[in-house]
Structure formats: C-alpha cells, structure tokens
Point group: C2
Chain length 234, copies 2
C-alpha cells in the first residue's frame, strides 16, 4: 500500500475536449472511492470540457495551476489527435509526469503519453483499433487489457478502464480495499454478447466496425506522424 500516509495521495485526471467520457468516468468512480486520496479533474484551459455522448464535465481545474501529483491519469477520445498535437497540453503532461509516482492512461490516452515522449521503449496498452499508432513514438504495443511497465500502467479501450483502475486500487490500497470497491460498484460483468474484442466478435461485426473507422485511421496516422515529428524535434 502506498497511500496510507497522512498526506493525501494526489491523483490528477487530465482531460481534454473530445475525450471519450467513459474512458474517464469508469476510472474516476474507483479513484474517488480510494482512501486517503485527493483527486483533481483538470484540463489545459480549465472550466467546462465537452466529451462524447453529449456529456459536459464542468469545473475542471487548469493543469498549470497544479503543482504536482502522485498519479497522472490520461483518458483517450475521439479528438485524441488534437490532444497529441497540443504542445501546451503535452508540456503540462510532461511536467506532471516528471514528478509522479505513477503514469497512467486508458484507451487512446496512451497515444497522448506517447506523443508527449513518455513511452519510448515502454510497453503500453491502447484501444485495439488504434494501437498500431504507438510505435510511431517508440512505444511497444502490448495487447493485454491492463499493461504494466515499471511505473507506467495503461489500459485498453474504454471499458478496460474499470479493470485497469481496480488493478491500481489494489496497488495503492491493497486487495481488500480494491475488492470492497468492486463489490460496491457491483462489478460482476455479464455481457450479453461476446463481441468485445476483435478475436471474439462475429467476423461481420468486426468487418463493419473496421470499415467504419478506416478513413479515421488514415487521418489519425497522418496526425500522429505530425505529432511524432514534433516530439522528435521537441
């Protein structure tokens, strides 16, 4: 257990316009139930941040106003390439990461960590559809649902964030507390279909999803290449 001290363990959740809200809200539920933590929702500009699903998250702090944190968490989202090319956002991520005990992400949040130059030679998870972008920044793809490489803990796509955050809960507060939180959020999943991964989804469903994102994949690779150049020269 690392957060049993009297000084609260500070968790900063760095979000951005166009995030996928469940990447953030799944982990947020568990982070906020941990004992002895102070959790902060922050963004580059502060204030209200619009996510997918028509959800607007109000009252975020400004990243520049946060002195330091023990754990930095970055979700992904439909506008991830904007965040990957936002020099100010990445600069704050790098600053907070430098002093953090844990550097974490869910979904395409790992692409932001990678674009900030923080995953060179490190293994990371990412949403299955976008993980081939990781090597552009020298990161190593790992297709596990939750991946740990030293002090870097990353989760796969969207709902992987709940498994990811329970792993972190156990790390920070012990198995018993993680299990108590799991019981509190009744996390005994029973999906009505076995379609959550490319290797288990019906082939026609996989083909449909892949075809639906084909154009976006090309755009994201192009945007990621621009970010990779900036990272290399920055």
């Amino acid at each position: 257990m690392v957060n049993s001290a009297e000084i609260p363990f500070v968790i900063v959740k760095a979000i951005f316009p166009g995030l996928t809200q469940l990447d953030f809200t799944g982990p947020n539920t568990v982070f906020s139930r941990l004992p002895n933590v102070k959790t902060i929702v922050a963004s580059a500009a502060g204030g209200a941040i619009e996510s997918d699903g028509g959800l607007i998250v109000a009252g975020t702090q400004r990243l520049t106003d946060i002195e330091r944190c023990d754990l930095l968490f970055v979700p992904g989202g439909v506008a991830v390439t904007n965040a990957m090319n936002d020099a100010a956002f990445k600069s704050e991520i790098r600053r907070l990461a430098a002093d953090a005990r844990y550097l974490t992400s869910v979904c395409t949040g790992s692409l932001i960590l990678a674009a900030a130059g923080l995953l060179r030679g490190r293994k990371a998870a990412c949403h299955w559809a976008w993980r081939e972008i990781l090597p552009l920044f020298g990161a190593v793809i790992d297709d596990a649902r939750v991946v740990r490489d030293g002090n870097i803990i990353t989760g796969g796509g969207v709902t992987a964030g709940i498994d990811f955050v329970l792993v972190i809960a156990a790390e920070l507060s012990g198995d018993g507390t993680a299990q108590a939180i799991q019981l509190g959020i009744e996390y005994a999943p029973a999906p009505p279909f076995n379609a959550g991964r490319p290797d288990t989804a019906p082939p026609d469903v996989l083909a449909r999803v892949k075809s639906g994102i084909e154009a976006m994949l090309a755009k994201r690779f192009a945007a990621a290449e621009a970010a990779a150049k900036a990272t290399a020269s920055g």
Copy 2:
C-alpha cells in the same frame, strides 16, 4: 428493431444531484452511439448537476421542458432517497413514463421508479445492498443483473448499467449494432478479482462493506417508508 424510423427515438436520461455518475455514464456511452436516436440529459432544475467522484455534469435540460420520450432512463445514487422524496421530480418521471415505450433504470434508480408508483407488482433489479427496499413500494425483487418485465428494463448496481444498456441496444437496433458498439468500447471485461457480488466476494470483504453501509441502510429504509406513504396517499 424499433428505432429504424426516420423520426429519432428520444431517450431521456433523468438525473438528480448526488447521482452515482457511473450509473449514468456507462449507459450514456452506448445510448449515444445508437443510430437514429436523440438523447437528452435532463434534471428537475436543469443546469449543472453534481454527482459522486467530484464530477459535475453541466447543461442538463429541465424535465418540465421535455414534451415526451420513447425511453426514460433513471440512474441511482448516494442521494437517491432525496430523489425518492422529491415530489416534483417524481411527478415529471410519472408524466414522461406514461407515454414512454420503455421505462428503465440502473442501480438504485429502480427505487425512484418504485417511489414514483411505477413498479407495483413488477419485477425489478437494484443494487444488491439496497434492493430490500423495493417491496416497500409493491415492487418484486429480482436479483438478476438485467431484469425485464414487460416494457420495464432495470439493471443492478453501478457497472450493471453496461450490460443493461447492451441489452437495450440489441432490443432497439438489433444484435449486430449492439455487438459493434460492444467492440467499439472494447467491452471484454477481465476483473482482477471475483469480488463483484455478495456471493463471490471474500466473506471478510462482504462483512466490511455491509458494516460500512449499516447506518445508511437504516436511514434509507426510514426515508423510503416516508416516500412509500407519500406514494400510497398521492
């Protein structure tokens, strides 16, 4: 498939101060990805609504401003007994429910539907810790993760909302679309522990959680009894 028409299928998510955000944000992710839907986040007063976990949801519409909906969804939350005793909120829930094709809830949201007088003689799911309150309103406890009784579909505690909403996605848009959304949110859960239900959690973890909520359970029963009297006389 019921939402293939040219007129969008209207989904209203009725939230309240002190909701459990993941009860709402899990389902919200899938609702908003369905084809041909119009989704609305609403509350009694409109505007910003504070949830657990330090999350503030901005820009909710006022329930009284919504003419009708096809599906009404109500999440639960730590302040559920306030909502159960809020006559104006319950009145709007009843009004929208009267014309809705589906009446739905997750977690203790079913207690709000029950307190609004909408579950008499109907089977419903609820968070495991609070479901004994349902019979105060004539509802029948069902401990399944997703429960269907006619046009009423209810989910269990917090994370059950993701299983619940995929069942609804299949009902509204067909299995293929539900599976494509499941693949898009990479919902292939892999909990690090098997502690998500009272019958699978380690006994000491269950005892700890039960002891932690004992006082709140007594308070909620008292508040629910007050609500039940109001419902019976209302």
